[in-house]
């Protein structure tokens, strides 16, 4: 479906010439904002894209924003990866601690068992060691020196 082209007609002046004395505004007119008289297009053509871009943010802003956003994403991802890695590291360390604690416990048990006097005595007896039948404490003749 098509519509007939609209015919452009010069717009009628909305205000009186500036050199003429301005009549006192009616209460209704007073409420209206006063518009700048000149530099206004007389046609209702749509605004060009160039003018719109000029009104938006500066390209440096976009570049900066892109850097910031990219930096934040990279930072968050890196931090997340770091946290995960640290978590794995903690898990590994905890597992190692548990392993070493177990090992320590076993070694403690072994030391206690091996140093048990009963075991040592049996071991020694099996190899022919005997307890001395009569222990004599030797006395050195003379009076011992006493400090103080």
């Amino acid at each position: 479906m098509s519509t007939p082209a609209r015919k452009l007609t010069p717009a009628a002046p909305r205000h009186a010439p500036t050199h003429l004395p301005t009549p006192a505004p009616t209460p209704r007119d007073r409420a209206r904002p006063v518009r700048a008289p000149a530099a206004r297009p007389t046609t209702t053509s749509p605004p060009s894209p160039r003018r719109r871009a000029r009104r938006g943010f500066h390209p440096a802003f976009w570049i900066f924003s892109a850097f910031v956003v990219t930096g934040m994403v990279v930072g968050i991802v890196s931090l997340s990866a770091l946290l995960v890695q640290t978590g794995f590291g903690i898990d590994r360390t905890e597992a190692r601690i548990a392993e070493l604690a177990d090992e320590r416990e076993l070694l403690g048990k072994e030391v206690a068992t091996m140093s048990s006097p009963g075991r040592i005595a049996s071991w020694a007896r099996a190899r022919g060691f005997v307890m001395p039948e009569d222990v004599v404490v030797l006395q050195v003749p003379g009076r011992p020196e006493v400090d103080g």
Partner: protein
């Protein structure tokens, strides 16, 4: 098609509305009135709290060597609903755990039983449990547990005691210091799915358990071991039924060794007679016999009732209160000083001394030395001994008490009497615990033992001379150690059974050394030895133990104390 009548529609609508109202009412009831009950029910269904056992503290000797320790272990259980082939599973478990045939048969029955939980084995070594876990047997599970291990086996077993299968101390120091050793169990509260798995992100609160403290004993493991070896040998050599040995420091009350034969291995205490669990040093009483004469002598000297050079005319038997008492050996009437009475161990002489002291002073002396009350050593089941009340004393009571008959004491009470003399007349409460060690590894020493002056230092010195005389020229000759002056006393006492004295004896020797600067007291007691005399049966045991202790503690010799003059040499 005919449309339903308006009336039927109204009825249907009414019924539906009523049903809706009913549902709303019920929902309101559940959501509003019974909210808390259902919330609690739901909570109970999905939240489980599991107790996390605290690691039990170790028991250490005075050098920090472990006498009892806890090891990581596993309880093995079965859920019979999931055991598909009970026979095969039982075979495999029996093979790994080393079960005998009857135990394996029982296990087979357990695996076929109704129910969802049955223990297969408890306190299994972790390595063994790991081996069983690798077999991936259906329906078999494992629970964390802790097993008590006594690396020195029978060494100080009666002191240490043992724990039950739940890790609770039920005998000895394990029982006495349960709260200190056990620690505080923790808890884990988790939200579980219907399959029993922890819901990720759900409630999961862990309250960590607080491990128990270590207990540091005054016991020296090496002295304890050697004392037990000598005790066993003495019991066998003398064909005795048992024996007791105590080694202690008279200055601090520290007990270096304490044992009774026969003993047991706490790692498998179930294999031993329950009588071997008893620490007879504190739980059994005996009539001390002549070792008690030191108290009579102490009362005589302290009260001034008898002078050191007073001479008694001592026959070998005497009538007192309608009873005849006599010395252990017949002898002609002799002149004896107090020192001679102690050295020759004369019952008659001792009764004559007691006559001079009097009932009240004798009773006071016994009480001052701690008779009739426990020493407070801190061991469960310590006995007070039996002391007849003063109101019931007769002349015969006084006479028999003077030589250790008619009174019952524990070996520790008697050792404590000699420790008091050795310590210059001041009683020091015996103790078994040196301190505790926390998880930080710091040892916190216990307060020093209580002390109380029982007799004056002068009296203690006179007694020491008499006891040294008893070893050098009296009945205790077998206790002599070359290079060291020993002070001590022999004892031979008849046993009392069902109120009657029987011809079975307890032989004892209690002494200390070096006499002038005592470092150690040793009490050696043999029950029913073939050779009944303390000087023959028990004194050599004292000698062996004391000699080893000298080496172990590096005790130096000290100048000898002068011996009391023999009555025969008196002017």
């Amino acid at each position: 098609m005919r449309s339903p009548s308006r009336g039927r529609l109204l009825i249907l609508l009414t019924v539906m509305l009523m049903a809706l109202v009913g549902v709303v009412a019920r929902v309101s009831m559940l959501q509003v009135r019974q909210t808390s009950a259902y919330v609690e029910l739901g909570w109970e269904q999905r939240v489980r709290t599991v107790t996390i056992a605290a690691e039990r503290g170790s028991i250490l000797d005075r050098a920090g060597t472990a006498l009892a320790m806890s090891l990581d272990a596993r309880d093995v259980y079965a859920d019979p609903r999931y055991v598909t082939q009970p026979s095969d599973v039982a075979d495999r478990i029996a093979e790994v755990l080393g079960l005998d045939r009857p135990a394996e048969r029982d296990l087979r029955g357990d695996l076929r039983a109704d129910g969802s939980f049955v223990y297969v084995a408890r306190r299994v070594d972790r390595e063994v449990a790991d081996e069983l876990a690798e077999a991936r047997l259906p329906g078999i599970g494992f629970l964390p547990a802790s097993a008590r291990y006594y690396p020195a086996a029978g060494v100080a077993s009666q002191l240490l005691g043992f724990t039950n299968v739940d890790g609770l101390g039920i005998a000895g120091l394990e029982k006495q210091y349960e709260s200190l050793l056990a620690g505080t169990p923790g808890e884990r509260t988790s939200e579980l799915s219907p399959l029993g798995q922890v819901i990720a992100g759900g409630l999961d609160v862990v309250e960590e358990p607080v491990p128990g403290n270590d207990l540091v004993l005054t016991i020296d493991r090496e002295i304890q071991f050697q004392a037990q070896q000598y005790l066993r040998r003495a019991v066998r050599d003398n064909d005795a039924s048992g024996g007791t040995i105590i080694v202690m420091d008279p200055r601090t009350g520290d007990i270096y060794a304490m044992a009774s034969y026969p003993w047991f291995d706490p790692n498998r205490f179930g294999d031993f007679d329950a009588a071997t669990y008893r620490n007879r040093s504190v739980s059994d009483m005996w009539e001390p016999g002549s070792v008690n004469k030191v108290i009579t002598a102490a009362a005589a000297i302290e009260t001034g009732a008898v002078g050191l050079s007073d001479v008694f005319t001592v026959p070998d038997e005497r009538e007192v209160g309608g009873f005849t008492i006599h010395d252990s050996h017949p002898h002609p009437t002799m002149a004896m000083t107090l020192a001679d009475i102690i050295a020759k161990s004369s019952n008659i002489g001792s009764s004559l001394v007691a006559d001079r002291v009097g009932d009240e002073q004798m009773a006071a002396s016994f009480a001052a030395f701690g008779f009739g009350r426990p020493t407070g050593v801190g061991f469960p089941g310590e006995q007070s001994g039996i002391m007849p009340p003063l109101a019931n004393w007769t002349d015969a009571t006084r006479a028999t008490l003077s030589f250790g008959s008619g009174v019952a004491v524990t070996p520790l009470q008697m050792a404590s009497v000699y420790a008091t003399v050795a310590n210059g007349g001041t009683w020091v409460q015996p103790r078994l615990v040196l301190g505790t060690r926390g998880r930080d590894g710091m040892v916190r020493l216990a307060d020093p033992s209580m002390t109380q002056e029982v007799v004056s230092p002068r009296t203690a010195e006179a007694l020491t001379q008499m006891l040294a005389y008893a070893v050098e020229d009296g009945t205790g000759g077998s206790a002599q150690i070359p290079g060291y002056q020993v002070a001590g006393k022999t004892g031979t006492a008849k046993k009392l059974e069902d109120g009657e004295y029987v011809r079975r004896y307890v032989a004892s020797f209690i002494g200390f050394l070096p006499a002038s600067a005592p470092r150690v007291v040793v009490a050696a007691i043999l029950d029913e030895p073939a050779t009944i005399y303390g000087g023959v049966a028990a004194a050599p045991l004292f000698q062996d133990v004391a000699r080893y202790t000298i080496q172990r503690l590096g005790i130096e010799s000290a100048p000898s104390v002068p011996l009391p003059r023999d009555a025969l040499l008196l002017p």
